[in-house]
Structures are given as structure tokens and as C-alpha cells.
Amino acid sequence: MSQNERETGHTIIWKPDGKEMIYIPAGSFIMGSDESRDNERPAHTVYVAAFYIDRYPVTNEEYKRFVDATGYPVPYYEVEWANLEEYNWDPETRTPPPGKERHPVVLVRWEDAQAYAAWAGKRLPTEAEWERAARGTDGRRWPWGNEFLLERCNTRETGINGTAPVDQYSPQGDSPAGVADMVGNVWEWTSSLFRHYPYDPNDGRESLKAVGWRVLRGGSWLNDLDRARCTARLDGDFLFFSNVGFRCAISASEVRLIGENKSSPGF
């Protein structure tokens, strides 16, 4: 990916959870796609205010810091209808499955993601923010361009058949703004309700209290490359799954910068 394709932004370290976050400037972008599934049509322009978004999804070791600090229940379920052995935490020691510390945390419900975000002083990205961060402004199919390339993300075609460390495909799989692991690996919870396009942030779909299915974005290790496109949407009509995780975001207006990043372009 050439340098001039990268957007100019800056990164910060978010103090409460130590995660790197990338600044996405305010502006319009092309959301959706006319060439794909019905729920992605039509392609239309959406304006998003400036925000910061986690560079990587929340990992098991980061989620562990959260559960240790708050006593929140760990991701652990005993069910017959899915094989969760590889991803279940140990309920007694409250630790993630060994070897998966740098993998994205899974078996988390939308409510769990909200709880982590609240503890960290952040929130989940809206669907529009997520797509803006993944796609940039030029309407590309995948974060790196319009052609799918195998070594850029973790989908079914990759053959791992499970989660991978969040930085494994960086920087080759990064979006124009430098956000990593947006597609493949795990679906990510957003805060928006699953509704038809065009995306209207004022029609109630961004309400956190409303009842309905929340949108998942980004494809996963279990799904094929078509679901890993920047515009692919999934209605979250289940509580949790072994290929669903999340990352956090925060509006730029809520951020008070300290230290070296005090003066930054456009802020």
C-alpha cells in the first residue's frame, strides 16, 4: 500500500486501558455498495464527526485487566450447540484460554462490550464510524484496495480456522487511516441497530436503549472473503459467538489530550 494512500491522522495512547487509538477527521465518506447484497444498498454519502478508534480489537489480555478490575463475569458458557472449548475462559482462575492473550476476546455479548467500553471511558463505534475507519473515503471494497489478497487478513480462506493475534496482518491489512484487523479475524459489535440504508444517525438507530439487533461488521475467521468487505453487515441476532469481538471508539470532542500530542493538525 503506497504512502500517499494513507490519511494524515495521529495516534494517541488511551490511558485507562493503554490502547493505541487513531484519529479519524470529520468528513463525508461513501457508505454501502451498489454491487453487493441488498442490505448494503444503496451506496450513499454519510457525514461523520471526528473521532478516535482503537487501532486493534480488544484482546484477551486487555479484557482480563477489565474483569480483574471490576469483577465482571468472564466469557464462559457450557452449551451443546456450539464448540466453545477453545475460547471459553477458565471460570475459576478467570483467565483466557492459554496462548490467546493477543487474540481478540470472543464470546462477548453486546452488553459485555458496552461494559468494557464504559469502564475504559469509551464507547462502541457506530456503524458509520466503523465503516469510515475501515474504508476511508474512496469507497474501496477491502481496507487495502479493491482486490482481495490472502495474506492481508484472517478469513476462512486463510485456513487458520480460529482467531489470530490482532497485529498479525498489520500493516499490510490496515485501512487507509492505519486501523488494523478491521476485516477478518472477528466480527465487531457496533452501537447501531440493524436497519435499512440510507444510514440516518437521527432516526433512532443509534439509540443505546432501543430494542433490536445490533450491527456486526468486518467478517471473521469463520466466514468467507465476501463477508470481510468493508461494507458487509451482519445482524446480531444472537448473544455471543466464538467469532465475535469488538473494539472501542470515542468522539474527538470528548477527548482531552495531554502530553506531546497537544497540538495536532485539524484538532
Partner: protein, 351 residues
């Protein structure tokens, strides 16, 4: 289907009560309820097996035939009859007590095995449960064209409250358990939400809620069709769209996806339904109607056919009963019957 006792001629009713296997006190109670016109759904549920027998004995016996088809039909019939399910005795606490406490006994073994299932409140179909194995309830996924065994899309229409994989019912020798499959809106049994991993055994009369769909766990009636005068009309109901295709009471009907390119148009053409067409084979199953019953045969489709969650093989005919669900590669059809809008056959008059 509404219970039929109120419209039933007296001789049939009396015979029905007599053969029901209930204790004398229950029989008296039922007779009194009939006469007073206060008979109930509860009574129908307990009497329907003997009701069927009483009505079927009114029919002329079928003449024997020797074709391969009739041989397969007999085998299918026999298979259905030899499935051994003896319903467990009903716990007294779950039944209403009309006046005197009835002395409860399990119904006697019948020629038609008892079939358990779910009756949807205000719905156009019932859901039969397989004696063994699991049945997944949920909705058809437009994006992947994957459907669970029971598709509740049309029943849920407008509510968006039922998940693609919502609940699972597993059966072992006539005992059933339900569990929630991690759905967002949950599965409720008698008003209580099931926890993740919690398996709740079902008892007759239990109310199960998935989203806005309310089911009652009950014994499903078997068919009541008399040859030479149909009391009931059988149909296939497309679970995704709510469309109905009426089934004839005699003959064969091919169900599949019409294809103008090769000039193939099955009798029931699911190709007209855009969303499900792609998963159905051009000639997917054949429904054979004989002597008041319907049988299904898979015609060698690539994705196969499942009956109540169980894959059926190509050479076997399977008998169909009310509430049976056919999964055709992803398109779910429910088989059910309802009262035909025709004058009643001759044998019911003159009593």
C-alpha cells in the same frame, strides 16, 4: 385446528369415550360435558386417538394392490405405526380439575402413535417433533440462504424478534427438552426465560415463547381423512412467505423450482418465490396422496430433504402428518390439514 367434539355425532362420541382408556369417573365427566356443551380442548386432546379409530372404522377397507408404489406406501405406514412412543402419565398438577379430581391413567397404546408437537397460537401451522433427534427453530437467513428445520419468518413478520438459530428441541423416546441457542430476545417457557445452556424438559400444556410467537406443547392429532369425501384439506405452507399450496387427496405432485430454460415446471413451483428459489432443486420432492394420506419422497436433490430435522433417503417414502416440516435445501414447508369447506359426508347424517 379446532377440536371437533362439539360437532361429533353421538354414536361416535360414545364409542370414542368408551375406548379412550380413561377411568370410569373421567368417562362420566366427559359424557356430561358433551351433553352440557361444555366440552373442552383438554378433552379433545385426550380423546382424539380413539376418535380417529372410531371414525376410521366407518370407512370401507381399501382394496389390495400390488404395485411397487403401494408396497412402499405400506412400508411407510408400517414404519410410522411401529414407532413406539408411550406418552408419559400426565402430572396431575398441570391439568385443570373440572369438579371432581379425575383418576389419571396414561392413554392406552394406539394404532396411530402419539405425536408430540407445538401448536402456534393464531398460526397457520403446527410443529411436529421427531421422536428422536433435534429440531432447530429459527428463521431463514437471506444472506446465506441457510434455514433451520423450522422457519418462523412469516410467523415473526414485522417483529424481527426471532433469531436465525433461536431454540433447539431435543427428543429421546418421547421426552423432549428445549434450550435457547443464545438468541438475543430469548426463549421463554411458561413466562420464564431460559438461561444459556439450560435445558428445560417439556410437559404437556407448557407455553413456549420465541419472540412474539407463542406455542403450546401438546399432542398433535393424526389425520382425519375419509376416502370418498374429504373432511379435511391438506396443504403445504411456505414458512418464509406464508403462501399455501393445496394438496390433492389423490395422485402425485412434484415440488421443485420451475426452470423455463430447460422447460421444467413442477406441479408446485417454488421458483416463483425469489428468496428461496435458489436453494430448491428443480425436482426436489414428490408428494404422493393415497387413501387419505400423503407421503413424501426425495427425488435425489443435491442438498437433500429433511423431515422434522431428519434427513430422508431417496428410496424411502415417508408418511406425513399434521405439523411435519419439510426442509428442502433451505426452503421450509409445513404440512398441515384443515377443515374443508364442503358438505359433510353421508355417514354423519341420520343420527
Amino acid at each position: 385446528m379446532k377440536y371437533q367434539c362439539r360437532d361429533c355425532p353421538k354414536t361416535i362420541r360414545d364409542r370414542c369415550i368408551q375406548e379412550s382408556g380413561e377411568s370410569p369417573s373421567v368417562k362420566t365427566m366427559m359424557r356430561r360435558a358433551f351433553e352440557a356443551g361444555t366440552d373442552t380442548q383438554w378433552m379433545w386432546d385426550r380423546l382424539q386417538m380413539s376418535c380417529l379409530r372410531a371414525r376410521q372404522d366407518q370407512q370401507k377397507p381399501a382394496s389390495p394392490r400390488r404395485s411397487l408404489l403401494s408396497q412402499r406406501l405400506q412400508e411407510a405406514q408400517k414404519r410410522a405405526e411401529t414407532v413406539e412412543i408411550s406418552p408419559p402419565p400426565l402430572p396431575p398438577s398441570s391439568l385443570p380439575t373440572p369438579g371432581e379430581l379425575p383418576d389419571l391413567q396414561p392413554p392406552t397404546a394406539t394404532r396411530m402413535p402419539a405425536r408430540y408437537g407445538l401448536i402456534l397460537r393464531g398460526g397457520q401451522h403446527r410443529v411436529a417433533l421427531p421422536p428422536e433427534g433435534e429440531l432447530v427453530l429459527g428463521r431463514f437467513d437471506l444472506a446465506t440462504r441457510i434455514s433451520p428445520d423450522v422457519d418462523l419468518t412469516y410467523d415473526d413478520r414485522g417483529n424481527y424478534a426471532i433469531s436465525r438459530r433461536h431454540a433447539r428441541i431435543t427428543g429421546r423416546s418421547g421426552q423432549y427438552e428445549i434450550e435457547d441457542m443464545g438468541s438475543t430476545n430469548g426463549t421463554y417457557v411458561n413466562g420464564r426465560r431460559l438461561g444459556i445452556g439450560q435445558k428445560m424438559p417439556l410437559r404437556l400444556g407448557d407455553r413456549i415463547s420465541l419472540g412474539n410467537c407463542e406455542f403450546t406443547y401438546a399432542i398433535l392429532p393424526d389425520l382425519m381423512i375419509t376416502p370418498g369425501g374429504s373432511l379435511t384439506q391438506a396443504y403445504l405452507w411456505v414458512a418464509f412467505t406464508g403462501q399455501r399450496f393445496l394438496l390433492p387427496s389423490y395422485g402425485e405432485v412434484v415440488v421443485g423450482r420451475g426452470d423455463p430454460v430447460v422447460g421444467l415446471f413442477p406441479d408446485i413451483d417454488l421458483g416463483t418465490i425469489r428468496e428461496v428459489a435458489r436453494v430448491v432443486a428443480r425436482r426436489h420432492v414428490k408428494i404422493i396422496a393415497r387413501e387419505g394420506r400423503h407421503y413424501v419422497q426425495d427425488l435425489g436433490s443435491a442438498d437433500g430433504t429433511r423431515l422434522n430435522g431428519v434427513r430422508i433417503s431417496i428410496d424411502n417414502l415417508q408418511i406425513l402428518g399434521p405439523g411435519d416440516h419439510l426442509w428442502l435445501g433451505g426452503c421450509v414447508l409445513a404440512y398441515d390439514v384443515e377443515e374443508a369447506l364442503e358438505p359433510k359426508p353421508a355417514w354423519t347424517t341420520g343420527h
